[in-house]
Symmetry: C2
Subunit: 401 residues, 2 copies
């Protein structure tokens, strides 16, 4: 009997798929919770706002929970089309494809725009999970750096132009930006879209946080920029807008017929997005016109509390966040990963501590973001105030060890 065994090797691509930067300290946090420590989660983007009742009450199963069409039901594409119309963006059904979460929208868009060995431009810090999708597709992300000192402002068009190589196939933006909280203007994005158009690149824009803009800014989509029908591909999600992260619905919205056809064929392969949730999402047609106003006001208030609190801590550096519900701050702690781990595993104030997302996981370039952390404001006011005080004391204690 032959018993010779060659252990099979997993793919290089699989080796390149990183662990989620956001979940890096989960083990330490679970240990702390088991000890009875209360943890204020400033590290995650799970909103604490209720999913609207007009969505939730549709959560029921038919006699047979059947497949839906690969690109989404006609009904749900209609509510999404109407939603975009409300933003002043006219789209046909055939320019909208429902996806299983914004994650799948980003994955399919990236796979449709780049081949194994190709490159994509993206600013860092960046939405960390894009690295997972890039690794799956064998696409190399080429980062353009942004800086805490100027509020992580987008690099100008010339910087994007200079970064293009023979292998560059697309550029990516996230606006409003996770993790930095920066909101780019139509003019800024137009400048980059023009570079992409001129150089034959796609521009994939993650607009998952579209509504979360403060200080009188208006929600808008890059799809309203004229002249970029073949260039711009938007990845969207209902997760944050309707506080429905676990529903796993999003969409690709683009006027590029090749991209919508190609991502549609990818969707055919996986047959269907979840059926119950698509019917639930039809409920957004019942939402009052000012639904988002109250939510954005609440997040705006939280942002103010955090900004005021953090800037009162000596050595903490950040610009006023403009959108989303995250920002990146520089902390006077030297090594934010070591500090964050210490906070969760060792430090406590009255039985509570704070969990941060160390920023290096949001940078591609090794060594960057070492003294920065991403901070989310998805907690209620009182919890936020407690979290700030714990962080203030934590920084003091860390620096006087």
């Amino acid at each position: 009997m032959t018993t010779a065994t060659t252990k099979p090797a997993i793919s290089r691509r699989a080796l390149n798929v990183p662990h989620s930067a956001i979940r890096l300290l989960e083990g330490d946090a679970n240990t702390a919770k088991a000890r009875g420590v209360r943890i204020y989660h400033l590290n995650i983007g799970q909103p604490d706002i209720e999913t609207p009742e007009c969505i939730r009450r549709r959560a029921s199963a038919d006699r047979i929970v059947a497949y839906t069409p690969a690109r989404g039901t006609e009904a749900v594409r209609s509510v999404m089309r109407d939603y975009y119309r409300g933003l002043g963006v006219a789209l046909e059904h055939g320019q909208l494809m429902m996806t299983t979460g914004g994650s799948e929208a980003l994955l399919f868009a990236m796979l449709a725009c780049g081949d194994d060995g190709d490159e994509a431009l993206i600013v860092e810090p960046m939405y960390a999970n894009v690295r997972n999708f890039a690794a799956i597709g064998g696409i190399t992300l080429r980062p353009l750096r942004t800086h805490v000192e100027d509020g992580f402002k987008l690099p100008p068009p010339e910087a994007w132009e200079r970064a293009i190589t023979d292998r560059t196939r697309f550029a990516m933006l996230c606006n409003p930006n996770n993790p930095t909280g920066t909101v780019s203007t139509p003019e800024e994005i137009r400048g980059i879209a023009e570079v992409c158009r001129r150089r034959g690149l796609f521009l994939i824009v993650d607009e998952v946080y579209r509504e979360f803009v403060y200080d009188g800014r208006k929600p808008w989509s890059s799809l309203s920029l004229e002249g970029f029908d073949d260039t711009i591909v938007v990845a969207d999600s209902v997760s944050k807008r309707y506080s429905a992260c676990g529903m796993r619905l999003g969409c690709i919205a683009t006027r590029n017929a090749d991209v919508i056809a190609a991502t549609g064929r990818m969707a055919e392969g996986r047959l269907s997005s979840p059926t119950i949730e698509q019917r639930m999402l039809e409920g957004i047609a019942e939402l009052p016109a000012d639904y988002m106003r109250g939510i954005v006001a609440e997040y705006g208030k939280r942002r103010d509390i955090l900004f005021e609190g953090l800037t009162s801590i000596p050595g903490v550096e950040l610009q006023l966040p403009q959108g989303a519900f995250y920002f990146i701050a520089r902390l006077p702690v030297g090594d934010s990963l070591a500090f964050s781990r210490w906070l969760v595993s060792t430090f406590e104030v009255d039985g509570a501590t704070v969990m941060l997302a160390p920023a290096p996981g949001f940078y591609l370039t090794p060594g960057l973001g070492r003294d920065e952390a991403r901070i989310a404001y998805v907690l209620v006011e009182n919890d936020l105030r407690n979290a700030i005080e714990i962080l203030r004391k934590g920084i003091e204690a860390w620096n006087s060890r």
Copy 2:
């Protein structure tokens, strides 16, 4: 102003992702339906059995529909672990990863086992959507042919051994097989697993139809074969077993720690499978022990009706299907695609017609399966009998045009 425009080109990978073979005639079918024609769908695998009440009644939304852990909730992994224990397969939580449908289980498994430019062995005819996943990953599928004459029996180990090249990284099986209805024995699969082990390949086994076996066969998993912990990766789905296709839940089950870790990192990228459905699935703990027995008896009866009916049509060739709820038959029509299109678009008996899935879409090798079609038996007895008679008359009419 520079208005030069270079239209961006979608990726080669995206161009390689095919349209679903099963949905090829959807346009013709919709036209016929609009004319008022009733269509008996022998082309699709959407079961008509009720999703169990103990699953359906759990379809409710929490106040916040939140993310779940990327690999699935502890509760749902427990019910899946218990399900496997019932098959005599002992698995730890860490050897089970929940996926968004069996589709994602296949996609992630393939991506973890092969790189762009690598090859995988698979029998043809095959589950057509594997082509989509292979194209996404840049993996070339190398087909081993099976034949209607011997009931699409698996090629012997020597044939697999001969087909291996320097680029082969894994082999794939679907057992019970969609689309052929063939059920392979533990000995047959062990023979192929031994080749894989010896040559350092993974063996990905799609066991979505595990319970759907007839004539006294017992459900089993290739995970019960001893000595292949590093070799065998099972892709599973709850879609068919619990008649819950729209729930989009499946899993990867393997004792290969590298594969479970790599596919887990891929899952972290997409954050979460649908939350409501994971809690729904916990309901399977309440199913009576003989839940599948009645369903399999029903499908067995339908298979008998179809087999008897089709073999009574002159020139139709098929072996008795052993499992799943599909089979491939040779039809005396020359070109099954032309015939199927004609059936849907032109032919009717008392205002009704039949829709088939032409077999060429299930073959990789051009020209194969030209006079074959995949036939699903997900209709009730009376509809099946009507469909057979329409098909009988359709073949007669087609051949006397």
